[in-house]
Subunit: 103 residues, 2 copies
């Protein structure tokens, strides 16, 4: 493979902790982003940032990291872009009924 | 009334914010306490503290404050004790389906 795109770590299903997920969702900007991903499906990083373009890029990157490390999203290379995906089915398998009331 | 028991502020139903509730639930000790209140009904402060007696009293008091200010619990005088109650029906009215998957 010729790609040099950076790959990020993602917790596997068993490694997703409920309190870590709740913390990730406890920030209004992160909750909005999760809701957008649930409504629209996978988005590029640039599309995600349009949820609240006034958020500084560094803050936005930190939000993505918090969501990824909690297990809520995947952040994966897709050509020259990166795609952000909500791990909805996995979350439902791990914590049934958790996400639906929040979306 | 001759009581001198301290009364605490509690947010009314409309003032309960989803992200504040999620933050309050994102600590393992606080989540355990909410689960105990859901399972056993109202408890005295002393009974609540038995969930994890190794938690220092100051930390435990801070957890109770975070839960009360988020709208998850009531902390009210009852004679010489104080009673902690999960605001389960109110939470269900404000955010249907939120608590059940967590308990």
């Amino acid at each position: 493979m010729a790609t040099t795109a950076r790959t990020f770590d993602h917790p596997d299903l068993a490694g997703i902790e409920l309190t870590t997920v709740l913390f990730a969702l406890s920030d209004p900007a992160r909750l909005d982003l999760v809701r957008q991903l649930a409504a629209k499906g996978p988005q590029t990083v640039a599309q995600c940032h349009t949820v609240d373009p006034d958020v500084p890029k560094s803050t936005f990157s930190h939000h993505l990291k918090t969501l990824r490390e909690s297990g809520l999203i995947r952040n994966e290379p897709a050509g020259r872009q990166r795609t952000i995906t909500l791990r909805r089915d996995e979350l439902e398998a791990r914590f049934p009924g958790l996400l639906a009331p929040l979306l």
